[in-house]
Symmetry: C2
Subunit: 343 residues, 2 copies
């Protein structure tokens, strides 16, 4: 099966997307893979397999590699005579901005390119932590209480709390604030990245679990539930390393009943929104109740380490992608009006 890994992007998570792509490359041996790199200027490059090394990108060496145009023929490389398109399904592995905010989804859909990844609307809801709350609330999925704070607000907050820019992943700009005198600095950091920040209570030693999955023709496919290793919370460096994970992990030591609760919550979030994507939901469990913390619609290295047979899963998902229905235009109204005018 032909599959093109699309990675990079003009995003704070550009580098971890590169790491993710290199990791996923090693997990999809049976696929006929291509690699499409999107640089920070939104130029696409066709990367040969032997150039899939972090240094090719950090050194700028990639700029000597063939440029790809994106148009109705897909990702297309100009040749001396004519041009050649990269066939097959695209795996959107651009983390953060571009990839997870709905831009790449809109581009691929616009040019009728089949892809694995969240669609535009689902991306808008998962990328913004406030909008995720709205989505969850409409589905009766519990989340922690929250407040949204902008620069001019003067909100009374309770401590300890956790402060997150509304629209960033990978812990960028996130701080735990234990008392009011730590607040200003934490807000300054967060406002570097977004004009809105989401504030939630910080619950020490809260149980945290990750569950990944997707819908295929075989039905909902779930990963094992992992209890992530955590210190207070993962900072960017640690998360960065996290994106290169490729060893399967042990499943969390929790009851079948709790696993089922998480699966049910996952499915509520997924259906009707995330079809076509392999997502990871991060949950909190408090008094045996499941709370949605975050939706990762393009999890680091596609959460390969949570699945027993990752290749089979990607292959099943690739053959279960939603197709856009496009209205056909017949110019009925213009014809009628022209007739009525006698023209």
């Amino acid at each position: 099966m032909k599959l093109s890994i699309l990675f990079g992007g003009a995003s704070y998570e550009h580098e971890i997307s590169i790491v993710s792509a290199i990791t996923v490359k090693g997990k999809l041996d049976s696929f006929d893979l291509s690699y499409i790199f999107c640089d920070q200027d939104h130029t696409f490059y066709n990367i040969p397999e032997d150039k899939m090394k972090a240094k090719v990108f950090s050194s700028g060496e990639y700029k000597k590699l063939p440029i790809l145009e994106l148009n109705r023929d897909g990702f297309t490389q100009k040749k001396f005579f004519g041009s050649k398109s990269i066939d097959g399904i695209v795996l959107n592995l651009i983390h953060g901005g571009d990839g997870e905010d709905g831009s790449i989804a809109a581009l691929l859909d616009f040019y009728s390119i089949n892809f694995i990844g969240p669609r535009k609307e689902a991306s808008v809801f998962s990328f913004d932590k406030e909008y995720t709350k709205w989505l969850a609330s409409s589905l009766a999925v519990k989340t922690l209480q929250y407040a949204v704070v902008t620069r001019d607000d003067n909100k009374e907050l309770a401590y300890p709390c956790i402060i997150k820019p509304a629209c960033l992943g990978s812990s960028i700009g996130v701080s735990i604030v234990k008392s009011e005198d730590e607040l200003e600095y934490a807000l300054d950091v967060a406002f570097e990245f977004d004009s809105r920040v989401v504030v939630e209570p910080f619950i020490e030693n809260v149980k945290e679990y990750n569950l990944a999955g997707c819908l295929t023709k075989k039905g909902m496919q779930f990963s094992i539930v992992e209890e992530p290793n955590k210190e207070e919370f993962l900072d960017f460096d640690k998360k960065y390393m996290d994106f290169s994970r490729s060893e399967q992990v042990l499943k969390a030591d929790i009851s079948d009943e709790l696993v089922q609760k998480m699966r049910d919550t996952f499915e509520k979030i997924y259906r009707g929104h995330f079809e076509g994507a392999l997502i990871r939901c991060d949950f909190f469990v408090i008094n045996n109740t499941v709370y949605l913390n975050e939706i990762n619609p393009i999890p680091g290295s596609m959460a390969n380490y949570l699945f027993e047979d990752f290749e089979l899963l990607i292959s099943d998902l690739a053959s279960s992608l939603p197709r856009l229905k496009r209205p056909s235009v017949n110019y009925q109204y213009i014809h009628n009006i022209s007739k009525a005018k006698g023209k």
Copy 2:
């Protein structure tokens, strides 16, 4: 000032976008205008001014006109030697799908093309009537009660009610249902267009008002408030004619206090979401309370008929567009890790 009117799109409102573009053309005499047509296959064409006639599109004659590529250089026409880009700001006048669902916004933003029109996130919220409710609710803006119904639902509804596909404008697929025996047919019609329908109470003779506006460097700019001519509600044929309006209308005979209430509600919706767009909000007024009915982020013919000096407004808006901040990538983490590995 150079301005390119982008119109057409793979949308149920393709034809009214053509009508809208022809109307707006007649209202922007002092601009240096270009015309970019997006056909239903997502090919872009450069339309000379003398070809801006409905029949050029309905007859397929447009297919003989020059094709435009969209890439980092903007909309670009290949010439015998080299290529030429269309400069200036784009006015997104694609109604319905593509234009109002965030796809075109994503494309233009991706290629750093400055444009008048709603951004991706704002589009997702205004295009879907359920999501509009979520947005309004988060801003303490009142809307009518509603239920969301899918094909498998068996919801108890109260009559009379109005049934709308979640994601279409221009009254397509909308029905008023006066009793249960009319329900099935109305739902069948609506489900032709979307898998979710929004049901609201139908309030006979409810007062309806339209207000358009935008944020420019001069502050919030509002149109007059219009009380639209309505029969039970506008069907598609009438709305179609509505998109060709170019005569300024009379303002509604209502109190200054009510106008102010609508402006306040408009501003709540607009700020933080619709910057860069000229939008029209359609309100209901019940017992002197303002309810948001719909947000039209690309109103028919840009609601030119509601403004005293439409050209000045567009010129002000064009010089007040939001700019995307793009993160710069410095490969700090890859460099650090390479160093740590001694490579």
